[in-house]
């Protein structure tokens, strides 16, 4: 039966990822809390999982002209070196600390999203 849960977690994780809503959180929770995988291993799997999901989503979003390519470039230019620093720090931190930090991070971001002002400035 484990493949059913694996497929369900990856399916919903990908739906949320393609919506740009942080689907990584879903697969990570499944891998760590349900399968008991270490945080670092789960993070690696989550990263490689995101690549084909993003590719599919990007083709469709580009068709709908929802991507602002001009913004993408500067983000990625400084993001790339930062990725290496982050990944290096993750190795240093180790899985147990990482998992707690990630939980705290999610808590802050979630509360912020839930209780932030309604986006009334834009047409919804």
């Amino acid at each position: 039966m484990s493949w059913v849960w694996a497929t369900a977690a990856s399916f919903f994780g990908a739906v949320i990822s393609a919506l740009g809503m942080g689907g990584g959180g879903i697969l990570l929770i499944y891998l760590t809390a349900y399968l008991g995988m270490s945080q670092l291993e789960a993070q690696g799997i989550n990263l490689v999982f995101f690549l084909p999901v993003a590719a599919v989503a990007l083709v469709i979003h580009a068709k709908h002209k929802l991507i602002r390519w001009k913004v993408v470039l500067p983000f990625v230019a400084l993001g790339l070196p930062a990725v290496w620093l982050g990944a290096w720090l993750a190795q240093k931190a180790g899985s147990d600390l990482l998992s707690k930090l990630f939980g705290g991070f999610l808590l802050v971001i979630g509360l912020r999203e839930l209780f932030s002002k309604a986006p009334s400035k834009h047409k919804d």
Binding site: I67, V71, E113
Partner: protein
């Protein structure tokens, strides 16, 4: 986009990259509000964020593989569900009301946080 805020992309890119490498996810959870702050429409924020995270995630993956943090074949079983989910999610984005996207986003992240902190 508000012209005066375009320079913010540089420090924000730094933050998103750091998170992506450190947590193997989460760059989007910070990137989306950042893009919104820069003046992008909600749906554009979410779509653009994926375009930003994809190359960063590719770089992170390389680093994690190099560090032997995980085995590539262990990710294979998540591919079919992932591809199907990506199609559904990408189809949904232009059709969802933005207020629901934001609320759903907040609730999902909180659930994940509680689960992680209480296990």
């Amino acid at each position: 986009m508000k012209q005066g805020k375009r320079w913010l992309a540089w420090p924000m890119g730094l933050a998103v990259g750091l998170l992506n490498g450190f947590f193997g996810s989460g760059g989007g959870m910070v990137g989306v509000p950042m893009l919104r702050f820069m003046g992008l429409e909600t749906q554009e924020c979410h779509a653009t964020c994926i375009a930003i995270i994809a190359p960063l995630a590719a770089a992170s993956t390389g680093f994690y593989l190099y560090q032997k943090a995980f085995a590539l074949q262990d990710a294979l079983r998540y591919l079919p569900g992932g591809l199907a989910g990506a199609l559904v999610g990408a189809w949904l984005l232009p059709r969802l009301k933005t207020v629901w996207i934001r609320r759903g986003f907040g609730v999902l992240i909180l659930l994940a946080a509680v689960r992680l902190l209480t296990r």
